[in-house]
Symmetry: C2
Subunit: 210 residues, 2 copies
Amino acid sequence: MQEQYNIRQLFPGLEEKLYQEMETHGEIRHIAAGDTLLRKGQTIRSTMLILDGIVKLYQEDEDGSEFFMYDIEPGEACAVSMVCSYRQENSQVLAKALTDATYMMIPNQYMDEWLAKYKSWHYFVIRTWRTRYEGLLNTINDIAFKNMDERLLLYIEGQVKKMGRHIKLTHQEIATDLNSSREVISRLMKKMEKNGWLIINRNSFEWIKP
Amino acid sequence: MQEQYNIRQLFPGLEEKLYQEMETHGEIRHIAAGDTLLRKGQTIRSTMLILDGIVKLYQEDEDGSEFFMYDIEPGEACAVSMVCSYRQENSQVLAKALTDATYMMIPNQYMDEWLAKYKSWHYFVIRTWRTRYEGLLNTINDIAFKNMDERLLLYIEGQVKKMGRHIKLTHQEIATDLNSSREVISRLMKKMEKNGWLIINRNSFEWIKP
DNA sequence: TTCCTTAAGTGACTTATGTCATAGATAGCA
DNA sequence: TGCTATCTATGACATAAGTCACTTAAGGAA
């Protein structure tokens, strides 16, 4: 079961003995699209490594509204779950599965042990924090300096790079990712269509800008 | 010279031998209020530990506008400057001294060495990243969910907690910290004054809300 | 005192975005 | 084929915040 995910390929550059420990102590879990991996305030007991699927990280308001920050993809880890065992930490964020997802849970007790034993592990931890920090920087950059039209353009270009020119997303889904509302996205996309940048279909659109 | 700052007190909990290495290899630098510690895009060659003064971290736009994110205080480190030597990194942020400040620069070559030798050092590094990540989360929380009036209130209450009820700040300075404009802050503060929360003076104000 | 610089107050206006209401369009199912 | 749920389109309006222009006030310097 564990072997259907190649952790050596997903998390390259770690020591062989560390991979073996991960296989021994890591618990593989599955989660359905839309379900919550980590709630805000929840005590963190394990480090989570994403093996399959996409997990989305949100900042959550007191009143329950969610603000999307960034995605975590296979081969990446949830930084907030990487806690040094000497203090109990609570999650400040909300993590939800976008698609069905699989992840490996490594109980916190191994964090200290592995930090001591494996050089590659502490690089991995630091690299993970750094990557997530950069994710937040990008988010801040977007909301501080860019208008929705720019953000939408960057978002679409990002999708095109990943998925090709035919994008299967509703306006509502895009709006949610950009923390905006459907009407706003519809209007902006209509404008883009008038500019000849894309063709809008139901549930999808085609990016035709060169 | 080095001895005028007690690093054992500023950075508690590290190994004695590590303090000694810090004293041997760390270079103490001074910087004047308003000067830049780290520019965006600059190659990072040293880890910076703040010994005295306050350093402000900004996100910088392509066109040069600055967005204030958080402060770094004595006893804290600039996370973005903590790079694992095996790859050259460039700064994605701008760091400026708010007050005259003193900091210790530790050349990157020691990062790997110390990570290997001192357990306390890698905890320190991870803790630093975590703290900075939380700083960004708060920033995002503010701009995503709060209006200026709430943010101003929280800001003032924070200042009161630190400096007492008599705050020596101009509206312009507050506006800059909140990434807003003077007029907006003036108007909101006038409203607060009408509510009997504060008394506005030139260059300062008194917080009288219970 | 008088002058001048800087801070603060304020009305008028602009703008981006969000919200409401309502209508039209499309795909898939019965 | 027609029905219905779900998308999409769009006008009208609300609102927070930024900008401009100009005024008023305070404090230090001469």
